[in-house]
């Protein structure tokens, strides 16, 4: 999944480079066309070249071309190209697209350095709107599509901590379960009123009604202006998002589904494992665990009362207390202790029964048939549902691509119908003109004879 994301990212880069190159070529051509047409007839060849370039450009983005003859018939004509409703080119001025790698992540499993696009004069290039056509938009949609599952809620307050960092509080959110929470633990963004702010970490507290309250500590200090702007937005009651919502089941969606699977399954498995006893008669540990990023040790999972996104202080047993939120499909593994010593696998259901008691193993194996583990049913059903969703999207995309290909071929044919040159027609014209010429030559020779007779044969003396 991450490799696919990186590939999509790389293709975005090459697409943007090509768009810029095309824009520059078109600018040059437009200059030449304007110059030539000022003094002479239409520069058909050049216009054809330019149109071919436009065809290629439209494969990347949705373009709109506006050409206006000069007012009063004097001067150069206006020629403008808009892509995704933003200006790319105006006669000979090109506003290039720049790609910059993100220093933050929008989803917990995103790879590093995904590109965001910006115009060379600083405006943002909006890539989250899936209504735009073109392969560039498709790449973004695939790379960032999270099926609108990002965290959304109401911003309730902004305060400043003693260290000068701003703290935002968010309540009334749509996610109250760590298993479906997929924003990054650090260096993520919160989108407020169209602007993105990077946060350093967040904390979750659980209310009496089981609802979560999120508290974000921002990474960089905000200016007073930004703070007062946010205050006014709070007063109006604004919804904020952690990350961005893209309405497509793209790569982040699949990775988030895998996260949910891994977390929920591990939670159920661990709970049953902890209820059993191992070889020595000690209570079972967490079987599946994740690695704490800094130290590589394991977590102890306890998120009934909330958790922090970056635990820094170990508890009495020397373990970092974390939540199943910290476990992702990338970092989940068997607990180190159990990995090193398989006798810690809790097979027995009683502390002093003896080595033949494997009742807990029977209960653990029944977990795979738990029909209420997910909304879809048992774990196998969840994965089957995921496969069928992805397969369905893939099949849809294939059909769509094929249909589009036929449509564009059809349009091409319509164009060629009007503009194409046919050998037979040209050949016909050739023959006509050829015989015309021949006849004209005949006329010439008859004239020659007439003149000859007139001048030479009716001469004086």
């Amino acid at each position: 999944m991450q490799t696919l994301q990186k590939e999509a990212n790389g293709e975005i880069k090459t697409s943007v480079d090509r768009i810029n190159a095309i824009a520059r070529e078109i600018a040059t051509l437009t200059e030449q066309i304007n110059t030539l047409e000022n003094y002479g007839p239409r520069a058909n060849d050049l216009r054809d070249q330019r149109n071919n370039l436009l065809d290629e450009l439209s494969g990347f983005v949705e373009i709109e071309v506006v050409e206006q003859p000069p007012a009063d018939g004097v001067g150069f004509s206006q020629y403008m190209i808009y892509i995704n409703d933003s200006l790319l080119l105006s006669r000979d001025y090109v506003r290039e697209l720049r790609y910059e790698p993100r220093s933050f992540k929008k989803n917990i499993n995103d790879t590093e350095g995904l590109y965001d696009l910006r115009w060379s004069d600083g405006d943002k290039f909006n890539t989250a709107n899936i209504e735009y056509t073109g392969s560039l938009q498709a790449l973004f949609t695939m790379r960032d599509g999270n099926n609108m599952e990002a965290l959304k809620g109401d911003l309730t307050s902004i305060t400043t901590s003693p260290e000068g960092k701003q703290i935002l509080e968010m309540t009334n959110t749509n996610i109250n379960d760590p298993n479906v929470l997929n924003m990054p633990p650090t260096d993520g963004i919160v989108t407020i009123g169209g602007s993105e702010y990077v946060y350093e970490s967040f904390e979750v507290t659980v209310g009496a009604d089981g609802k979560y309250t999120y508290t974000f500590t921002m990474k960089r200090q905000m200016t007073a202006q930004q703070i007062s702007h946010i205050d006014s937005l709070i007063a109006k009651g604004t919804a904020v998002t952690a990350g961005t919502n893209v309405d497509f089941k793209g790569i982040p969606f699949v990775m988030n589904q895998l996260n949910e699977f891994v977390r929920t399954f591990s939670e159920n498995f661990n709970d049953q494992h902890k209820a059993g006893y191992d070889f020595e008669g000690l209570a079972g540990l967490e079987f599946f665990n994740a690695k704490v990023p800094m130290s590589g040790t394991n977590y102890e999972f306890n998120d009934q009362n909330g958790f922090v996104s970056v635990p820094t202080v170990a508890n009495a047993g020397g373990m970092m207390v974390g939540s199943y939120y910290h476990m992702t499909c990338l970092n989940f593994y068997v607990s180190e202790e159990i990995d090193k010593d398989p006798r810690k696998i809790a097979m027995s259901d009683s502390a002093d029964a003896g080595h033949g008691n494997h009742e807990n193993v029977n209960k653990l194996s029944n977990i795979k048939d738990m029909h209420d583990m997910f909304i879809h049913g048992a774990p196998a059903t969840f994965l089957q549902a995921l496969v069928s969703v992805v397969a369905g999207e893939g099949s849809k995309a294939q059909t769509f691509a094929q249909t589009q290909k036929y449509v564009s071929l059809s349009v091409e044919n319509r164009r060629l119908e009007i503009s194409g040159a046919d050998k037979d027609e040209e050949g016909e014209d050739l023959i006509r003109f050829q015989s015309l010429l021949k006849n004209q030559f005949k006329v010439l020779s008859v004239m020659n004879e007439i003149l000859n007779k007139l001048i030479n044969d009716t001469g004086v003396g």
Binding site: G354, N362, V387, N413, L416, E428
Partner: protein, 499 residues
């Protein structure tokens, strides 16, 4: 509609491409033998395949791993149970021979020897059996043998054993009869202490050689008692098999009507008349006692009784609970488990060994009396001591011998009854194993059929029939060739060729 040469070329290219794509697809299908290469080719086939494969791998686990394991365990158990049943039958025959009044004493001794050997066979060779490094009859503790492997005296066991009133059996014994003491001169001391035959009631605990300093507790509950009621307790007096000062021979078997005597050397509780009357109506009886010295091949208490083992060297205390409920369950089908093991405490009664112990102790008494008679005979011949006293003692000893001979005979009869009860216990376990084996076999047959069905369904779902695939490949190839030919014909000519 105007058609230009470029249009025709584009169309021709498109057709060739389609033909190539189809050709490629069918070629891949033929090479792989499967209808889909990627899930998105046909999501429905993909998801169905996933479901079938999950099912088949589960079935495989049951058929190739769980069921054979269970089967081998149960067949080893079955073999042992059959062996033990045969041995018990043999022992019964020996007992019948032993209790026959016409049998010579020497032959009776030989019978006893055989019984001792057979008991050893039952417990050491059969009940202690292993299969693939796991003990068959010890429940969850498959790594702990049934019997002690060497003399053990550092584990102090406090054992709670449960009984019912029918475990208390009547016992006839020789009481009294003064032993010969050369220092005694008054013949009346002997005539006052004639050997008699007395009856009492005895409950044999499962072990002998119990700790002497510890008084066991005897508690019982009556049928009408509510579960919360405290149990009734009987007071127990500790005696010894060797009579104390002033006590008659076998005084330990002669409790008062309200007394209960405990004999640690033989592991017996003797009930006086009234205590016996009280306890014979009980619904359940529990006796707590303690034993520290175990010989090699004695049964480890944790496999039979609720007990607590204290290691006198390290001080660690290990409690053992409910050995009769340690069922090892194997999952042989979806949400179906089968108990594969049989427990020693359910199949092999300790009473088998104890019955033989009883015969041995009676034989010891007989031997002692015979030796005493021989000694008296020697003394009479040598002329030592008072001849009148010697004659009196000898006749008393001979009376005692008669009583004890009778006891010897009866002991075989008692043992026979106990052995028959043990036989039916083994029979019950054996038929339970048989029933479970049947269930296992029928499950196996059903699962094998299911596996075939699912494998077939999977193949139907995702496999391409090779003949069909080949035909399609050829068809596509043909189509491709035709397209190529058609294209070359169309694109070749134009008006210019004719100028």
């Amino acid at each position: 509609m105007r058609i230009t040469g470029t249009m025709m070329m584009n169309n021709a290219l498109r057709h060739m491409e389609k033909a190539r794509v189809a050709h490629n697809k069918y070629m891949e299908q033929e090479a792989e033998g499967k209808k889909i290469l990627r899930a998105s080719d046909d999501p429905i086939i993909a998801v169905r395949s996933l479901k079938y494969r999950t099912k088949i791998s589960e079935l495989d686990q049951y058929l190739s791993k769980n069921i054979p394991d269970a089967s081998s365990w149960m067949s080893s158990t079955d073999d042992v149970l059959r062996n033990v049943a045969d041995i018990l039958i043999r022992m019964n025959t020996v007992c019948e021979h032993g209790q026959n009044g016409d049998t010579e004493p020497e032959d009776r001794d030989k019978d006893l020897e055989e019984l001792i050997q057979r008991v050893g066979e039952i417990f050491e060779n059969n009940a202690n059996q292993k299969s693939a490094d796991r003990y068959l009859f010890t429940g969850y503790r498959t790594d702990v043998p049934l019997l002690f492997e060497r003399n053990t005296d550092h584990l102090q066991y406090n054992i709670t054993e449960n009984f019912v009133p029918s475990d208390i059996l009547p016992f006839t014994y020789a009481y009294g009869g003064k032993a010969y003491d050369p220092a005694v001169t008054d013949i009346r001391e002997y005539t006052d202490d004639l050997p008699k035959s007395n009856r009492t009631h005895v409950m044999m605990l499962s072990y002998d050689n119990l700790d002497t300093g510890v008084v066991p507790t005897v508690q019982y509950k009556n049928k009408g008692d509510a579960p919360g009621d405290p149990p009734n307790v009987l007071a127990v007096t500790v005696k010894s098999i060797t009579p104390g000062a002033g006590e008659k021979y076998n005084e330990c078997y002669n409790p008062g009507p309200d007394e209960v005597y405990f004999i640690p050397e033989t592991g017996e509780l003797v009930y006086g008349e009234n205590t016996y009357a009280a306890i014979s109506e009980a619904a359940s009886i529990a006796v707590d006692y303690q034993k520290t010295n175990f010989e090699k091949n004695e049964i480890r208490p944790e496999h039979y009784f609720n007990c607590t083992a204290t290691n006198t060297d390290t001080g660690t205390v290990i409690p053992y609970r409910e050995p009769e409920n340690q069922k090892i369950n194997y999952q042989i089908n979806f949400s179906q488990t089968l108990t594969v093991n049989t427990l020693a405490c359910n199949a092999f009664d300790t009473s088998i060994r104890r019955a033989v112990d009883r015969i041995v102790s009676v034989q010891d008494e007989v031997k002692a009396t015979k030796a005493a008679i021989e000694k008296i005979d020697k003394d009479i011949e040598a002329g030592l001591g008072d001849p009148a006293i010697l004659k009196q003692v000898k006749s008393q000893l001979e009376d005692k011998l008669k009583i004890q001979d009778r006891m010897y005979l009866d002991a075989f009869g008692d043992a026979s009854m106990i052995l028959q009860a043990a036989q039916s216990t083994v029979g019950i376990e054996s038929s339970s194993v048989g029933a479970r084996v049947n269930r296992l076999e029928s499950t196996e047959a059903m699962l094998t059929e299911q596996e075939t069905n699912f494998t077939e369904a999977l193949s139907d779902n995702e496999d391409v029939e090779l003949g069909e695939a080949l035909i399609r490949v050829n068809e596509a190839y043909l189509l491709y060739n035709i397209t190529l030919q058609a294209t070359s014909k169309i694109l070749g000519n134009s008006l210019l060729d004719f100028i």
